[in-house]
């Protein structure tokens, strides 16, 4: 039962990631493979602030948002790239930030990671088990998902959809496309920062390898599987991918050391199958192009 609840905790954290990435990919047409990097910035912000500076977890979680947002703003010149070049630019950002996490040893402890991130405490209750951590991760996920739903249904969200539908026409009717793209890039990075902060306090350990390009791809697959342009699709994508991930463990006679590689092959297979058979995902609003 605890293992199932552990998956539910991860599901709540991944849902925040997938819903935020969907705002970027699905609603604005910014297909990015750097989301794990901003997730990592949030995780490290909470790890460093709580372990090195004894900052209260909740205050550190609040600071994780602007930390990820500032890093996103710093790399935002990649938004000048269009189409495939933008995607490649986000891969470059992801690789670069992973290297920063590995090599800025005085700040991040490099390959040793940061152990001992304290568990959050609410009214004297230490949230250090899956069932107790759900008391935090579920409300945070609900808040983020509701904010995302509100955002995409607001006039701001309608502008994003026009940018995705046709950036040239959006520009010709007076929309400052570059400014909106920047806002979305920063806002979604901040959301990923929140997810990262939760992850750090849940696993109590942050390490650069948890925030690499493979994980960025994993988040993107969740969005594509669930369907782009619908926030509910992202949550479905998370459930679907975790189910597939865990099903691999039940393959008879699969050696334990092969579970990880087979899981990655399963994700890749899912991505391939969705692109071929149902490009709009399970409940997507449109086909990803």
């Amino acid at each position: 039962m605890d293992y199932f609840l552990h998956l539910v905790v991860l599901g709540t954290i991944y849902s925040i990631l997938a819903v935020s990435l969907n705002i970027s990919v699905g609603y604005t047409g910014l297909l990015t493979l750097a989301h794990a990097a901003f997730y990592g910035v949030g995780a490290y912000a909470v790890g460093i602030l709580t372990v090195e500076y004894n900052v209260n977890f909740f205050f550190a979680l609040l600071l994780a948002m602007p930390a990820a947002g500032v890093v996103a703003a710093m790399v935002s010149p990649i938004l000048r790239l269009k189409g495939h070049f933008f995607i490649l630019g986000t891969v470059a950002v992801q690789l670069m930030l992973t290297q920063v996490l590995f090599n800025w040893i005085s700040l991040t402890k490099g390959p040793f990671g940061i152990p001992g991130v304290p568990s959050p405490v609410i009214f004297g209750l230490k949230l250090n088990t899956p069932p107790t951590f759900l008391l935090l991760s579920v409300p945070v996920m609900i808040i983020v998902v509701l904010l995302a739903a509100r955002l995409v249904n607001s006039p701001f969200g309608r502008v994003l959809k026009t940018i995705r539908a046709n950036p040239s026409v959006a520009e010709s009717i007076g929309i400052n496309v570059d400014l909106y793209r920047l806002r979305v890039f920063v806002i979604t990075a901040m959301m990923a920062g929140v997810a990262g902060g939760l992850y750090a306090s849940y696993t109590r350990y942050v390490h650069p390898s948890a925030f690499d390009v493979v994980f960025s791809t994993f988040i993107l697959i969740m969005v594509i599987l669930g369907g782009t342009g619908r926030w509910m699709g992202s949550v479905l994508g998370v459930v679907g991918l975790i189910t597939i991930q865990e099903s691999v463990r039940f393959i008879p006679a699969l050696p334990a050391n092969m579970v990880g590689p087979v899981q990655i092959m399963a994700y890749s297979g899912v991505l391939f199958a969705v692109m071929m058979l149902r490009p709009q995902g399970l409940i997507g609003a449109y086909k990803l192009e």
């Binding site: 026009t162 539908a165 046709n166 040239s168 026409v169 520009e171 009717i173 007076g174 929309i175 400052n176």
Partner: protein
């Protein structure tokens, strides 16, 4: 003072120079046509004015103010509207929603009045307000695209091939609409046309572009009689 003054405009895509110093003016209440072969730089010229393509030299001056390389959203605030080639609209949205979006920069309390004016101008699309733009014919789509940019109520309208692939009666309707914008509303119109016949009918002045340079500038009458005109049509 002309409404729009272009001085030696240069635009290049990478190492390829597309515009080699184009100079022309457009006054309020005047339609100026740009004609020329495919690849002569006609569309790039409009993009360079509107800020979609970066000018590498020269000046774009609107009402005496230098607006060279201003962003499109800034140019719309200054009173320029641009309709791209091919009747570009938001295909998933209804006619109503497309027009409302066209009024993105307009004051909210004027949107309904402006939409009514557009529907008066294009009765064909007023009958189908709740239809998705995807379901429209080529001509209706072109009318919608023009309606969207007219929601801005610009001083200067940049039109890239408004007659593109339309049947003769629709070309005539678009021509009349443009003339009414010029004559009745006092709008300045700069129109790029592959359909030379339409360009000559709608324009007060014509510029012919070759290899990114103006090789002829004058009134349609300056092109001489029907023989010279047919020769020009044959050239293009």
């Amino acid at each position: 003072m002309p409404l729009l003054e272009i001085q030696d405009l240069l635009v290049s895509y990478g190492s390829k120079q597309v515009l080699n110093g184009v100079t022309l003016t457009v006054d309020s209440g005047e339609a100026v046509a740009i004609i020329g072969h495919n690849g002569a730089g006609k569309s790039t010229f409009l993009k360079g004015i509107f800020g979609v393509a970066k000018a590498t030299g020269g000046k774009v001056v609107l009402n005496g103010e230098d607006i060279t390389n201003h962003q499109p959203f800034e140019n719309i605030k200054s009173g320029i509207a641009y309709m791209a080639q091919g009747g570009q609209v938001f295909p998933d949205l209804t006619i109503d929603d497309n027009l409302r979006l066209g009024g993105y920069s307009a004051p909210a309390n004027e949107i309904d009045d402006r939409m009514t004016a557009i529907f008066d101008m294009f009765p064909a699309i007023s009958q189908r307000r709740t239809i998705a733009a995807d379901a429209l014919s080529g001509g209706e789509r072109q009318m919608l695209a023009m309606g969207m940019v007219l929601m801005i109520r610009p001083q200067l309208l940049l039109l890239d091939e408004p007659s593109g692939a339309l049947a003769g009666n629709l070309v005539q309707q678009i021509t009349e609409t443009i003339r009414s914008l010029v004559d009745d509303k006092g709008m300045g119109v700069l129109i790029v046309e592959q359909n030379v016949d339409m360009g000559l009918k709608v324009a007060d002045r014509v510029n012919m572009l070759e290899h990114g340079q103006v090789v002829f500038s004058g009134t349609p009458a300056d092109l001489g009689g029907e023989e010279a005109r047919q020769q020009l049509l044959g050239l293009l």
